[in-house]
């Protein structure tokens, strides 16, 4: 947009949220150039920080008047570039919408604004014996609104499910500026399940302005085991054995040898044997009697697959130490190289061993440093590539290897994202999973919510086949190659 239009837009936005909550100077906008995916970037025309639903509505309507797109943003911890203003426009940051509006202990739900930080909700309701189950790794920073956009997961989704299983209702500002309520605290609504379509829609169907979430009872007993293996394939086989047996732990996470090395060399050191090929972290929760018996079953499964040893955390401090190996992994990898590309794909759990072998071979062939730390229980892989983006040749290999890794996962019956979303990052890879007809069906949904394609454009759909309805600019040239 030209500078005159932009000045008018900023003036209009300031009239709605005031000067302090409308950012427009280049130095203020730069932090909004990207989210936690740093490979892509675009500077927005302006950023607003609304404080209530009404302000969101007025901002959306102002954007419509000025013909600019708008992009919702939570804490900016997303890993697929979902919060980047790809086509310019206004970023609507929801961090100021950070109030918990209501906690219903009897019926176990809470009504929150979208900017409430994930972990803070669990902390707030803990005295009532409740918690909010989805626990993405970024839970100390990420917001519930962002979690709704991405249908975020976390280590404990194996047993508890992802965000979509825990959202009961939302208030949504539609891209036309109307406000709707979808879902109900009772868990069912008398119309189609549009709530289910909105969760995980990556901010392309509207701006979530209020969320009603389910709260779960804190389990009476938690046990955490750490099994050490000679190689990652054996650890994967142990996971397969557990799944096959019908046992559903709260979490099953694998950390491979390269990650162990990085963790042990960092401040997150958890006392893991550096010569181990992999560690498998298993958390069990529930009724004390049942958990005690499950511990025995997990030990057995791990030993049958050749575990060197299986340790049971004796106390909370030791549990925390075990988890440090998992949760500190990404921080520790920062030591390996300036940049880290965190991939996200899912395969059937029985296919984990062969897929991992192939992924490692791909990285080797490209001469890249790859490490794996992942939600093995869900089959949710996170192959991480450490690299230096200043090395253009290496960056090319990173991109090429990423594509090959995703293709291997899809060929094994998997998908290209388990919890990070498609965003900008993977939109061109959607065709690995879906046909044109499948994508066109998604466009129909988009079109019903956002007929003009103004809400978070440039996400999810491949640019080689634009959603004609969802992106009017693509009309007449919807087959333009990359």
């Amino acid at each position: 947009m030209n500078s005159l239009d932009r000045a008018g837009l900023v003036l209009a936005l300031r009239g709605i949220v005031g000067d302090a909550r409308c950012l427009a100077r280049p130095d203020q906008l730069l932090p909004y150039e990207c989210d936690a995916l740093t490979l892509h970037g675009a500077v927005p025309s302006a950023v607003v920080l609304p404080r209530d639903t009404d302000e969101i509505v007025r901002v959306v309507r102002a954007c419509r008047r000025f013909g600019v797109p708008f992009v919702p943003r939570g804490a900016g911890t997303g890993l697929s570039g979902g919060a980047i203003a790809m086509e310019g426009g206004v970023v609507i940051e929801c961090s100021r919408l950070d109030r918990v509006l209501h906690v219903d202990v009897a019926d176990r739900f809470a009504v929150v604004q979208p900017g409430v930080v994930n972990a803070s909700l669990s902390k707030l309701v803990q005295p009532h014996g409740l918690f909010y189950a989805p626990d993405p790794s970024s839970q100390l920073a990420c917001t519930i609104g962002g979690n709704v956009g991405e249908n975020s997961g976390g280590p404990h989704t194996l047993k508890y499910g992802t965000t979509t299983n825990h959202v009961l209702a939302v208030q949504l500002v539609l891209p036309v500026g109307d406000v709707v309520r979808l879902g109900s605290p009772t868990g069912t609504s008398s119309g189609p399940d549009l709530l289910g379509a909105v969760v995980g829609s990556e901010g392309t169907l509207g701006i979530v302005s209020e969320v009603t979430v389910r709260l779960s009872p804190i389990p009476e007993c938690v046990e955490t085991l750490l099994a050490v293996f000679g190689d990652v394939v054996s650890a994967c086989r142990a996971v397969g054995r557990v799944i096959r047996s019908g046992l559903v732990p709260a979490a099953m996470e694998i950390v491979d040898q390269r990650t162990i090395e990085a963790v042990e060399a960092s401040v997150y050191a958890a006392g893991l044997p550096r010569d181990a090929g992999a560690v498998l972290l298993v958390e069990l929760d529930g009724v004390a009697e049942a958990v005690a018996r499950q511990v025995v079953r997990i030990r057995d499964a791990a030993q049958r697959e050749g575990a060197w040893r299986v340790d049971l955390a004796r106390d909370a401090a030791e549990r925390e130490r075990f988890w440090r190996a998992r949760k500190g992994a990404f921080g520790a990898m920062g030591r390996l190289a300036p940049d880290l590309y965190v991939h996200d794909a899912v395969v059937p759990r029985a296919r984990l061993p062969e897929v991992l072998e192939r992924i490692c071979a791909i990285a080797d062939a490209h001469g890249l440093r790859l490490s794996n730390v992942f939600h093995a229980g869900d089959g949710n892989l996170h192959p991480n590539i450490s690299f230096d983006r200043r090395d253009a040749r290496e960056l090319e290999h990173v991109i090429a290897a990423g594509h090959e890794i995703l293709a291997v996962c899809v060929a094994a019956g998997g998908v290209i994202s388990g919890e990070h979303g498609i965003g900008v990052e993977k939109r061109e890879y959607m065709k690995l999973v879906y046909s044109d007809d499948d994508l066109e069906a998604m466009c129909r949904l988009r079109g019903a919510f956002d007929p003009d394609g103004v809400c978070n454009p440039g996400k999810i759909f491949p640019t080689t086949r634009h959603c004609v309805e969802a992106n009017p600019r693509a009309r007449n040239y919807d087959r333009v190659p990359l």
């Binding site: 979509t164 399940d193 529930g286 899912v346 939600h375 498609i422 069906a441």
Partner: protein
């Protein structure tokens, strides 16, 4: 409505490409007199059939096992039945993963057999002996075990759907965690075929329980009976928690039939020690003892039954903590109640004095509406004779979803041929 022409029938026959798929015999469903039944035997034939229907503007009542014909608003402009019954079969049960794929017309009984044989549990148990997988998903149908199993929306991993213009699409996959694109599964689950015809689905299975036990007790109505029932439903191993009212207590469980109040039934499933602990608790708190065999099946039948062809069956969905208030609003006389306290579901059956008793229907609606309000929830009329559906939308009061549903219908079924008239707001 004009009868189907020979030309129409020829076109449909060509689309089916299968002599066995077209039956030219009148059928009456949902108040509509239909001329023929199309039963494609494969997904491509289903897609071609729907494309042919759309091209000619022929409305179709979409049907699985036919167990929920009584649900939905009266059909409008429908001329044929589109049956999924020949699109049947279990494609795969993956015992390593605990997932399965089957075609929509597969009877749940057949699917359950295959899943059992693989050592897993099929987490769907809606009433209706002929219920198909597709019908269960399209109706988001639940049974007594939804407390432990979860609801259909939580159990579908992937889906094949033919949209209203005959486009065959796929969404989701076979893996247990997936955010690759929009979740179009949930849009179809509970949409009663209005946005497309489900042709196959990938499902999440549940582990087979190591130990199962069903207990029953009389629950008197004094004090905080409902709160106590909700607490029973929240026991860690509770897979079913049902309350059956006095009038039907003896039908479900004669040995524990209460003299006043309610019959409480709890099925526990899971770890043996955990089940033992929960049953001890139920025994101490309610005096619960082992129930007789088949009690869960009888609860399930009760959930799906009506008082004859003129009966009404409402389903209320309310907040569990408001159940006592909800039940106070319901007419004591004439309504037979089944309550799932853990999920706040109330099934209320009402017998009408005589056929075409419009006043009785209106009175029932008013009572149900005020009960739903008292529970901060909503009510739908799940089963009723067609004449009783004329005055009000069976889906109850319009919500914001209904407006968006219209925009979705225009895109997912542009010719308006799938179950025309039957969904929310007469879509």
């Amino acid at each position: 409505m004009k009868a189907l022409s020979q030309d129409d029938l020829d076109a449909l026959q060509t689309a089916l490409g299968d002599d066995a798929g077209l039956t030219r015999a009148p059928v009456e469903i949902a108040g509509a007199k239909l001329d023929a039944t199309l039963a494609p035997g494969a997904e491509d034939a289903l897609a071609r059939s729907i494309a042919a229907l759309a091209a000619r503007g022929i409305g179709a009542v979409v049907r699985g096992g036919g167990t929920r014909d009584a649900f939905g608003n009266p059909a409008q402009r429908a001329q044929v039945v589109l049956s999924t019954q020949r699109l049947s079969g279990v494609v795969e049960v993956d015992a390593e993963e605990g997932v399965a794929r089957a075609f929509a017309g597969t009877p749940l009984s057949e699917l359950r057999e295959a899943v059992d044989a693989a050592g897993w549990a099929l987490p769907f148990d809606p009433p209706g002996a002929r219920t198909t997988l597709g019908g269960t998903l399209a109706a988001a149908a639940i049974g007594p075990r939804h407390l432990g199993f979860g609801r259909p929306r939580d159990l579908v991993l992937g889906m094949d759907v033919v949209l209203g213009d005959g486009v065959h699409t796929r969404c989701g996959g076979r893996v247990v965690k997936n955010v690759t694109g929009y979740d179009l599964m949930k849009l179809q689950i509970g949409a009663h075929g209005s946005f497309g015809v489900i042709s196959a689905a990938w499902l999440r299975l549940r582990p087979r329980a190591e130990c199962e036990r069903v207990v029953a007790a009389a629950l008197d109505e004094t004090g905080d009976a409902m709160a106590r029932a909700v607490a029973a439903a929240r026991l860690p191993t509770a897979r079913v928690c049902a309350l059956v009212d006095l009038n039907f207590g003896f039908v479900v469980e004669s040995s524990h039939a209460p003299r006043t109040g309610w019959l409480l039934i709890v099925e526990m499933a899971g770890d043996e020690a955990a089940v033992a602990r929960d049953s001890d608790r139920l025994s101490a708190d309610f005096g619960a003892g082992d129930a007789t065999r088949g009690v869960i099946e009888r609860v399930r039948s009760l959930q799906g039954e009506n008082f004859g062809p003129a009966g009404l069956r409402f389903r209320l969905s309310v907040l569990p903590s408001r159940l006592d208030r909800v039940l106070r609003e319901l007419p004591v006389a004439g309504a037979a109640l089944l309550v799932y306290p853990g999920s706040g579901l109330v099934f209320a059956r009402i017998a009408l004095d005589n056929t075409a008793d419009g006043i009785g229907v209106e009175r029932a609606w008013l009572a149900m509406r005020s009960a739903a309000r008292a529970g901060s929830g909503h009510v739908v009329l799940e089963a009723a004779p067609e004449w009783a559906k004329v005055a009000r939308d069976v889906h109850g009061q319009a919500t914001d979803e209904w407006g968006l549903a219209r925009a979705l219908k225009a895109r997912f079924d542009p010719a308006g041929i799938l179950n025309p008239g039957r969904f929310v707001g007469g879509l």
